[in-house]
Symmetry: C2
Subunit: 468 residues, 2 copies
């Protein structure tokens, strides 16, 4: 409010640049719901027209492969019947505070068969359909030029060959775009792997997750496709319903991973600590060998206990959701529309308070398949936030700049998008010609932060003085 | 809430149809801001590239015609400089409760020159650029297939030849689309015409507005182009800042139009009454001659005195804005995003209350140039309403159905879009195969309305009984 007029004036004076052509990254979006519901519907209908006799699914009960039209017959559906309502993937009033109901929505028509065929990398058609639709989504981003996305793709830690299979899928289908980077998400579902006898202790899950990465770092030829694929992986995410009750706390008496042999799922902090520990060691190794390193950017503070945020604050580069956060400069990717459908209604979202307070925020979609209506989900997310919270053009450009900083894009890409000095504090780190963020905003943020740190330092001194 | 599950189930069971492919009409949008800010910017840049040496503007001071590049030189702007911030047409915090500031935003770069060149039908290039950009907007609607718009285009009543000029512009430039209908808006600015000596009394303004229409109705050959153009005009709107204070009230002592000779502007109700009176007589004449008739759908109740709503309620088919309304079944086109920028913040909009109460609502954009961010402004408007107010798919389809009913589309088009019986009350008037609105919703609305009318009737009876 202090500088609004000057801010808008300096934005006007920047040639060419405006909110539409500053780079923005959707820092938190899951690949399995990266397309809109309308896009998925059209894709399925198109395939039913052009590939109805292609075998796409192995029916274990019938012991035979089914063609696409046989699958739809078994579901009692014709292509004409299909609409967005039958697809039924959008979040609705039944999903609020019900993560379990929300998860069911990942299955088009409530049918895990369709999810298996269309949005899995590892299936009877080796993920070909999924690759095709992802490439269409990526080409929409390329067309927009300034919109980018970091898609979450799953590694489960159930089997040792998951990484190689994923890499093969990516390379064989040429799923690559300059506008896309991968974040590998690990669902916290040890208890399922254990119950299904894939693994006998938590240490094995960690080995499945990290051993292939150590091997390929030591010797790229050991997994040549994975070596290629990793170039576009910028980090790790940890995902699951945070509101689920957790059994035991993580203390010094908690068993080591190889001794965690029971059927119970470890707590959030246990998962995060052991992922963090592996990533740190892996990164050191990779740095020595001149390879890029991985960021750790878990989901945290969407719901659940405070220790989730404490853990992530200590271990993570930045976090997704974080609507229960209160302070500090850790990057937070907030998805108000997703929150609105799951845990926190839009008007009650802390976003405007956090932003006014100077926290490092970005706006992200989480999942256009479930939450959005237009063909430009990231713009839709910005639009709604701008409208409801009356953001200025300066606010929107600052959020876009934050999203690039928080992203896992390579150093040289960030320099190109934000300016050579982007790592510097305050206005020195800003290039308005690229970011459209006025220096006066950067100065305000920096001065406020310095003053707040000063207050804390002074308080500590007084407290020390009183003690002596 | 009562029937939500059944409603969703019956929507799923309708083959093919969903919210995306039910017809929806943007029932309230001004043509001068029908394009997005990004679209306008791109259009201007393109023209600067391809037609920089075309003469586009007559400079009265220099007494010569300027080329497009000379105009930009005079503004000290290069094509590269131009961005959405310099264009500065989006509503912002300074426009809230300041209709005057908002009106300035109609001028790109704050320059009436650019508005004159790019978004006027009547200028040095005879509105060619404006026609071209409108045709681009219309072709976006055609591509979407199910989205339609009723654009407000101005007739001022300043001169007698305005209708012929407008018709010539439309026909010469072939500004026609199946997805577009025109509503003629009349700004309530008698006092300006009077001060500029175009007219000497209000009666002349009415003559300029209506005489050409009576002439062309009596004898189509008298204005052949206007006769063609009128086929796509569905009605009249009355527009201006409703929050401006009004001098005198409209009573039986108020002078007749030809005696309204002073410099003061007549009140809202005076404008509406005389427009209404002319439209009724014109419609009777047209009906007798087998021509289509015009709807009267004024802006009303965006702000200002209660008598605005009373007047419109008595005289109008349906109204735009109406956020100060309370009751009854008159159609109301609400534009929550526009309200949010001008008179009423989003969370305080009465839309959800009105909708729950069963009022006849539709959602409209008012002006994508000023309020929206994506390439699909009407979908953006629905999306935001759905997210903030947690509308179900059934709610959204009901709103789309309302928008078609309120629109001025021809009877046969409405029958095609809504079903043959759409004029009937309750479920009998619904065709879920076309509207995707479940019969159970229609029954609920109809039963509720009947019960409420019953209560009023009973109350009247009791009151009568008490009197005797």
């Amino acid at each position: 409010m202090l500088n609004e007029v000057q801010e808008l004036e300096s934005q006007k004076s920047v040639p060419h640049r405006d909110f539409y052509n500053v780079r923005k990254v959707d820092t938190h979006v899951h690949i399995a719901c990266g397309m809109s519901q309308k896009h998925l519907l059209r894709f399925i209908k198109r395939k039913l027209k052009t590939e109805k006799d292609v075998q796409v699914y192995y029916d274990k009960a019938k012991k035979k492969a089914l063609t696409l039209s046989e699958v739809f017959e078994s579901l009692n559906l014709t292509p004409y019947d299909l609409n967005v309502d039958t697809l039924d993937v959008h979040a609705d009033s039944k999903t609020f505070h019900r993560f379990d109901q929300f998860n069911i929505k990942f299955n088009p028509v409530g049918e895990s068969k369709l999810r298996e065929i269309f949005i899995k990398t590892n299936n009877f058609i080796e993920g070909r359909y999924f690759a095709e639709i992802i490439k269409e989504v990526a080409s929409d981003l390329e067309e927009s030029k300034y919109q980018n996305a970091e898609y979450r793709i799953s590694i489960y830690g159930r089997r040792r060959d998951e990484w190689d299979r994923l890499a093969k899928w990516g390379l064989r289908n040429k799923v690559y775009s300059d506008n896309v980077r991968w974040l590998v998400q690990v669902p916290r579902i040890y208890q399922l792997h254990h119950a299904n006898k894939f693994i006998s202790n938590f240490g094995e899950m960690l080995e499945n997750l990290f051993l292939p990465l150590f091997e390929v770092t030591m010797d790229p030829k050991s997994h040549p496709e994975l070596h290629q694929f990793l170039k576009y992986v910028s980090g790790f995410d940890s995902v699951d319903d945070e509101s689920k009750p957790e059994g035991q706390a993580f203390t010094k008496n908690t068993p080591e991973p190889t001794e965690w042999t029971g059927s119970e799922n470890p707590p959030y902090s246990y998962y995060l600590f052991y992922m963090y520990a592996n990533i740190v060691i892996l990164n050191n190794l990779r740095r020595k060998r001149g390879m890029h390193t991985f960021l750790f950017r878990p989901h945290s503070g969407e719901a659940g206990a405070v220790h989730h945020l404490v853990t992530a604050f200590l271990l993570a580069e930045n976090i997704s959701h974080g609507i229960l956060t209160e302070e500090a400069q850790i990057g937070i990717a907030i998805s108000p529309l997703a929150n609105n459908c799951l845990f926190l209604s839009y008007p009650r979202n802390p976003f405007p308070d956090f932003f006014a307070r100077g926290l490092q925020l970005s706006l992200s979609t989480d999942g256009p398949l479930q939450f959005h209506f237009t063909k430009e989900p990231l713009m839709e997310e910005y639009s709604i936030a701008a409208q409801v919270w009356k953001l200025t053009r300066c606010d929107m450009c600052e959020l876009a700049r934050n999203s690039v900083i928080m992203s896992g894009y390579e150093e040289e890409v960030k320099e190109h998008w934000l300016g050579l000095n982007w790592r510097k504090d305050g206005p020195a780190g800003n290039d308005i010609l690229r970011t459209n963020v006025p220096d006066i905003r950067m100065a305000f943020r920096y001065e406020t932060l310095c003053q707040e740190l000063q207050i804390i330092t002074n308080a500590t001194k007084i407290s020390d003085a009183l003690k002596t």
